[in-house]
């Protein structure tokens, strides 16, 4: 059965399993996994919450997602999308990010903020949805040139992530968001998504696309 599905996918070019494609997938997975480790290392438990609510005095819940977690994920997803020519790069990176984050947290019993449900199944689902949003925007917004597409993808995916958190995660862990806080948090979310889009585009311009060159050859 599995062989039959695989054959159908390969025949219809849904999944292209040639060497370059595998290399690209491995690169995207490495970016996702590395991103998860960097995020875990850079933001210990309580750091984001303290920065958002005690230093910046932003309302919650969702400020940390809109300003730190979402933009970081956008940077990971967009960088992997831009470093590979094929489709699905950002989805692979996002999924690897979520799974490796959950695995490392579970393996080393690293304490995380229960409000964000980091490392749970819902967290992995949120991250996968983020990757899917980036992928969809990059595929649908072909009318725009690449820098604008990156900005748009970052902003839209960040909003999708925040709305998912507001609807599916925060009601279980921190409570519903207040109506009066939504405009401010959405504004922060949009700006927070635009910045990594620009950074990812700049980074992709600076570094040569090794795999893309291989594909051309």
């Amino acid at each position: 059965m599995l062989d039959y599905v695989r054959r159908i996918l390969v025949e219809r070019h849904v999944v292209d399993l040639n060497m370059t494609r595998r290399k690209e997938a491995a690169l995207c997975a490495a970016i996702g996994g590395g991103g998860a480790l960097v995020f875990l290392f850079a933001f210990p438990r309580g750091a984001i919450s303290t920065l958002m609510h005690e230093v910046l005095h932003l309302p919650g819940p969702g400020a940390g997602i809109a300003l730190i977690f979402g933009p970081f994920l956008a940077l990971v997803a967009l960088t992997s999308f831009l470093s590979s020519r094929g489709k699905g790069g950002s989805l692979i990176a996002a999924l690897t990010f979520g799974l490796s984050y959950a695995l490392v947290v579970w393996l080393f019993r690293i304490p995380t903020n229960p409000k964000g449900a980091f490392g749970s199944i819902l967290f992995v689902a949120a991250v996968a949805l983020f990757g899917l949003a980036v992928e969809s925007v990059m595929a649908l917004a072909r009318a725009f040139n690449q820098p604008w597409r990156c900005l748009l993808a970052g902003a839209v995916a960040n909003v999708v992530l925040l709305v998912f958190y507001w609807l599916a995660i925060f009601p279980r862990t921190a409570g519903w968001v207040k109506w009066k806080d939504i405009p401010l948090l959405l504004g922060v979310c949009l700006v927070g998504g635009l910045v990594p889009g620009y950074i990812a585009w700049t980074v992709s311009r600076r570094f040569p696309r090794t795999l893309a060159h291989e594909q051309k050859e």
Binding site: A42, R45, G46, A47, S49, L51, V55, G60, P61, G175
Partner: protein, 70 residues
């Protein structure tokens, strides 16, 4: 709702972020230096090749003319 403030965690985070940024900048500087060195070496190699390529036919012409004179 926001949880207890943990300024120690924030300080740790800032320190680690600074360290990561420094590592990134260093890695980028090394990458640029290596690519600059490689480019320069390649340019020199090409120049040498061109010079040898220019001289060889000249030597060949000279040799043939000397042979015909003698």
């Amino acid at each position: 709702m926001c949880g207890p403030a943990d300024f120690e965690a924030l300080q740790t985070s800032i320190t680690r972020l600074t360290a990561l940024c420094a590592a990134g900048v260093t890695a980028y500087a090394v990458y640029r230096a290596v690519s600059f060195y490689r480019e320069r070496r390649l340019k020199r190699h090409n120049q040498e090749k061109r010079t040898t390529g220019d001289l060889l036919p000249r030597f060949a012409v000279q040799a043939s003319s000397e042979r015909s004179n003698s």
